[in-house]
């Protein structure tokens, strides 16, 4: 279920900011990520942890999906964060610096222990991973499949680019391989691929251009740092009217063939096989026109 949720936009919310936390449900993001890591001063990590825990426990996020980006497993803070946050029942954990299967398994084990200790349904909390080194990208599939909790993998561009020993650019050539590798690994693992943040909140055109590019590469969504970025990103991921009509026609042909028990589906003289049907169903989902009875081959 968690793997097929729409996650076009995952909005980072600094965990030590009550104003942003309590207003986060107003922005229209598909997922909210309360940040305990890079968006919080080192001297305020304890305060952010407690504020996010308190918010999760006392506020109603009106059905929005809420993740918490904890600190990495490379510091003791990661486990301290999980101890505080898991009992407060976030929907998921965003794990930064997920650079090896061991990092993922370590986080999974702590969540499992805490789910048991606090009588939460086993496996109810999912994980989205940020891969941030060259080794991680090379090992993406093993990392993606290191735990059943993982529903998506993301690229952490800043650390990765530093590891490549080059600099970030607007056109992003330096990220091309990592982005492609991530999408391939995600699809092979049956999970989602999430792209990195676009740091310049004043450059709408740049954001749209990058989002169009990564959508074409196969990404399901993008991490965002400002509510301003949500609208433009959703627009890129929303199919236009022509694409929607085409998708509806494909799905109608598929349903008709199923009803008549026909072995082959054809539309306008062209054969329509399963990948085409799945793509059409995805288009309708992105357009908010979910089909009532998805085919058995749809993603889990």
């Amino acid at each position: 279920m968690s793997v097929s949720k729409l996650r076009r936009s995952l909005l980072y919310i600094p965990g030590n900011n009550p104003n942003l936390i309590q207003n986060s449900v107003l922005f229209g993001a598909d997922s909210l990520m309360f940040d305990l890591e890079d968006g919080v001063l080192a001297s305020e990590k304890d305060a952010a942890r407690e504020l996010v825990r308190s918010a999760l426990t006392e506020l109603d996020f009106r059905g929005h999906e809420v993740l918490v980006r904890i600190n990495g497993m490379d510091t003791p803070l990661g486990e301290v964060d999980l101890e505080a946050i898991v009992p407060a029942k976030p929907n998921g954990i965003r794990l930064p610096k997920a650079n090896s299967p061991e990092d993922v398994k370590a986080c999974d084990a702590i969540i499992t222990r805490l789910e048991r200790a606090h009588h939460l349904p086993a496996g109810s909390i999912f994980m989205i991973l940020s891969l941030e080194t060259t080794k991680a990208v090379l090992n993406a599939h093993a990392i993606a499949t290191a735990s059943k909790r993982v529903v998506g993998i993301a690229i952490g561009a800043e650390d990765y680019t530093a590891d490549l020993q080059t600099e970030r650019s607007l056109t992003g050539e330096e990220l091309f391989y990592a982005r492609s590798a991530l999408v391939v690994a995600a699809r092979a693992a049956g999970i989602q691929a999430i792209d990195t943040v676009f740091s310049n909140v004043n450059d709408d055109a740049g954001l749209v251009a990058e989002t169009e590019k990564i959508k074409q590469l196969g990404f399901d969504g993008k991490s965002l740092i400002s509510p301003r970025q949500i609208g433009p990103v959703h627009k890129v991921f929303t199919p236009d009217a022509v694409a929607i009509e085409r998708a509806k026609a494909v799905v109608a042909a598929f349903n008709e063939a199923k009803a008549k028990n026909l072995g082959v589906i054809s539309l306008n003289g062209r054969m329509v096989d399963l990948p085409v049907v799945l793509r059409a169903q995805r288009v309708l989902r992105l357009a908010g026109l979910e089909e009532q009875n998805p085919s058995g081959g749809a993603a889990k």
Binding site: N19, Q22, S54, L59
Partner: protein
């Protein structure tokens, strides 16, 4: 565990509260808020209740409120107390 030193948590940003706490022989809670007339008492009660939960019976607490909701007040008080309990480094 007792409060050993002065400490604070929170900020003066909108929707937040600054909680300043120090050891004392009695419990005093002073609230500064633009909405003191309407909410001063509620803020005081929330702070007092949180201190009681934590087992703190004496302290001098100053609350500078910038429109914090209860979950924020509680969180800031808990952190201020935890920081105040840390041994002097």
């Amino acid at each position: 565990m007792a409060i050993q030193r002065a400490a604070q948590a929170g900020s003066l940003e909108s929707c937040d509260a600054l909680i300043q706490i120090e050891p004392a022989t009695a419990l005093t809670i002073e609230v500064k808020s633009d909405a003191a007339a309407q909410f001063g008492n509620t803020i005081k009660n929330t702070v007092e209740a949180t201190l009681a939960e934590l087992g703190e019976k004496t302290a001098k607490v100053q609350v500078t409120d910038r429109g914090a909701l209860d979950y924020t007040l509680r969180a800031r008080v808990r952190v201020a107390v935890a920081r105040a309990r840390e041994a002097k480094s």
